[in-house]
């Protein structure tokens, strides 16, 4: 049985925009090998941001909750991964346990956070913003207590260092790995959201939560699940980002939060597809402008956001609410 929503035509314009940005950059950069390197770097950055941002945007779509402490899960994931990698001697064998530990720790913290911090303030936006910011302050300090205030090194395993050479194009191995993980995750999310019963409920909840509850499903429970999964993904993203930078500080969370907010505003609050396109756009634009005009690069994300909002005030893929 198909309904009106799934039959609605998919909006390809934002995807075309993505391609247009890449092609326009090629026209400016001229050297194809540089362009390929920059594009891969942009995709890697964008997909890492997508991993971190997807949970946040879903949580907002589902329960109208904006978690300003999302960066905390990112930082925690990075710290846990750094500790596990160090304990395992920094080998490739330690990679999977480190990532899993990062996801587990961030997911558990997410569960506790939802219970203690967010549950009492449903539906009160002002309090949500304040209380999650407060939670972030406390947790950031606790990270300092546990891991100390100094920068923590997070080395990549030997196998992920260096680059492949294709002709005169250098492709960093870690970037390729990030792109693969990010794409795999996007496909997995798309399959879960579009092909499973849980996904159907989540999408229905985003569309109209009250109606889903009226049909006898517990949106709240669904929400807790999404919140924990989103936190775990943030933890994974944080671990991968930390490894990308090869160092971890508490500031990693706050730095990424700004990018994540820009991404989910560009994509349309609550939309996973929008988050994906927005993240890649931000990643690409950041890398292209960083090469073409380093002085302007810092403002490029804000400029991108303003332009997108002038074009589509609700973001690339508006979600029914708001």
């Amino acid at each position: 049985m198909k309904n009106a929503i799934s039959e609605a035509r998919f909006d390809f314009v934002p995807l075309a925009l993505m391609a247009a940005v890449a092609l326009a950059a090629l026209a400016f950069i001229r050297t194809p090998s540089t362009w390929v390197t920059l594009t891969v770097a942009g995709l890697a950055m964008g997909l890492l941001i997508f991993i971190m941002a997807s949970g946040l945007t879903l949580v907002f779509g589902l329960m109208d909750v904006m978690n300003f402490a999302h960066g905390l899960f990112i930082a925690l994931g990075a710290y846990v991964a750094a500790s596990v990698m160090k304990a395992m001697g920094g080998t490739l064998a330690g990679l999977a346990p480190a990532m899993l530990a990062a996801m587990l720790a961030a997911g558990l913290l997410g569960l506790a956070f939802e219970r203690v911090i967010i549950k009492p303030v449903y539906g009160q936006h002002l309090k949500q913003i304040l209380i999650t910011t407060g939670g972030m302050i406390v947790a950031e300090q606790l990270i300092h207590v546990i891991w100390g205030p100094d920068l923590l090194p997070l080395a990549r395993p030997e196998a992920l260092r260096g680059a492949f050479l294709l002709g005169d194009v250098a492709l960093e191995k870690y970037r390729i790995a990030s792109v693969s993980v990010g794409l795999a995750l996007f496909v997995a999310l798309a399959v879960v959201l579009n092909r499973t019963r849980i996904g159907l409920l989540i999408r229905a909840g985003v569309e109209n939560g009250e109606m889903v509850e009226a049909m006898g499903y517990r949106v709240r429970r669904l929400f807790v699940g999404v919140f924990v999964a989103g936190s775990a993904l943030a933890g994974l993203g944080g671990a991968m980002w930390g490894m990308y930078q090869e160092a971890v500080t508490v500031a990693i969370g706050a730095q990424m939060m700004v990018l994540i907010f820009i991404v989910i505003i560009i994509g349309g609050l609550g939309s996973v597809t929008g988050c994906f396109v927005g993240a890649i756009l931000v990643g690409l634009v950041a890398n292209y402008t960083g090469y073409l005009a380093p002085k302007v690069a810092l403002g490029s994300n804000i400029a991108l956001m303003v332009l997108v909002l002038l074009w589509r005030p609700q973001g690339l893929y508006p979600v029914g609410k708001s």
Binding site: L126, I131, I137, V258, F261, I265, G299, V306
Partner: protein, 336 residues
């Protein structure tokens, strides 16, 4: 007389009145009551932050909008004075030019941000301001020709202000006047409309008030007052840099002061800022003692490490949002 000065908004609690009078008298006589550089510095900080927090309360407590860009306006004020004094000769005219330029920039910027994002929901505004403010902080550290980059700007002030006591009374006087002006604003018919918007936006709109206009004006007023605070702070420190004005940590401090002192009352700003600045300067000493006393017990010394003072204020912040949403002032007024 006093009623007129306070715009008819009296403290309405005996304890609160006592605290406020004590704070006012100590600040007014600070150079004589507490001689010494450090305590005078603490007093000047209190004055600046009372003004800054009061201007933030106009947004958060009275209008019900969360902005993360308040430090940006604070910084614009500081950099306005800083750049003018560093470029021109140290004169009052230079200060005037700097302050006016800063006010103009702040007004324009807050107007644009407000117009862009106050139409939609509180969360959207909070996210946009966070992004813009972080961009501004990066911009200030990058344009090092103009702003001195990470090092900031050190500058000379006019002859009269080189005496610390004179400088202090300039800060104190302007902060007091600005505070009374803000008190006047929130107790005016305009302020009542802001409260109505906070309580129920839909109803305020239905009564015929253009909520976007009111919010935007409130946003601009808050930004202007924050810029004045920034200018005062720069004049007091004779320095402006990213760490003293634009740092996100200061934004967090402001939030803590507003919430702990009491949202939606200007007096909350006085109590919150005073407590916080004193805690910032003296709590660390106390924590150092606890930390050393608990040496040997696992984890406790780390929790009480002097650098972790923000942890305890953060806990207080979360608790006060849950249990005392009107902060200290609200508690005092209830138990009068």
């Amino acid at each position: 007389m006093i009623r007129a000065l306070l715009s008819g908004d009296l403290p309405r609690s005996r304890m609160l009145s006592v605290f406020l009078i004590a704070i006012f008298v100590s600040l007014a006589a600070a150079p004589y009551l507490f001689p010494g550089t450090r305590s005078l510095d603490v007093a000047a900080r209190v004055c600046v932050f009372v003004l800054l927090v009061a201007s933030y309360d106009l947004l958060l407590g009275y209008t019900g909008i969360v902005s993360f860009a308040h430090t940006m306006f604070f910084g614009i004020g500081g950099y306005g004075v800083g750049i003018a004094l560093a470029r021109l000769e140290p004169s009052w005219a230079a200060i005037g030019v700097g302050v006016l330029a800063a006010l103009a920039v702040s007004a324009a910027l807050s107007f644009v941000i407000g117009l862009f994002s106050l139409r939609v929901r509180a969360i959207f505004f909070a996210m946009i301001t966070l992004a813009v403010a972080s961009f501004f902080a990066i911009l200030a550290s990058q344009l090092s020709d103009l702003t001195g980059g990470e090092d900031g700007l050190t500058f000379r002030v006019p002859e009269l202000l080189r005496t610390r006591v004179n400088a202090y009374y300039l800060v104190f006087g302007i902060a007091t006047v600005m505070f009374l002006v803000l008190l006047r604003v929130v107790n005016s018919p305009f302020g009542r409309v802001l409260l109505a918007i906070r309580e129920n936006e839909f109803r305020a709109e239905a009564l015929g008030y253009r909520t976007v206009t009111y919010r935007t004006i409130a946003n601009c007023l808050g930004a202007l007052a924050a810029s004045v605070a920034g200018a005062l702070y720069a004049l007091w420190l004779r320095y402006t840099g990213p760490n003293t004005t634009l740092d996100f940590a200061i934004m967090i401090d402001i939030l803590l002061m507003v919430v702990i002192g009491g949202m939606g009352t200007m007096y909350g700003a006085v109590i919150g800022a005073t407590l916080f600045v004193i805690a910032q300067n003296y709590l660390q000493d106390a924590m150092k003692m606890i930390s050393e006393a608990t040496k040997g017990i696992p984890l406790l010394p780390d929790l009480f490490h002097p650098d972790r003072w923000l942890l305890w204020l953060g806990v207080l912040f979360v608790l006060s949002i849950y249990y005392f949403p009107r902060g200290i002032v609200g508690q005092l007024r209830r138990g009068r």
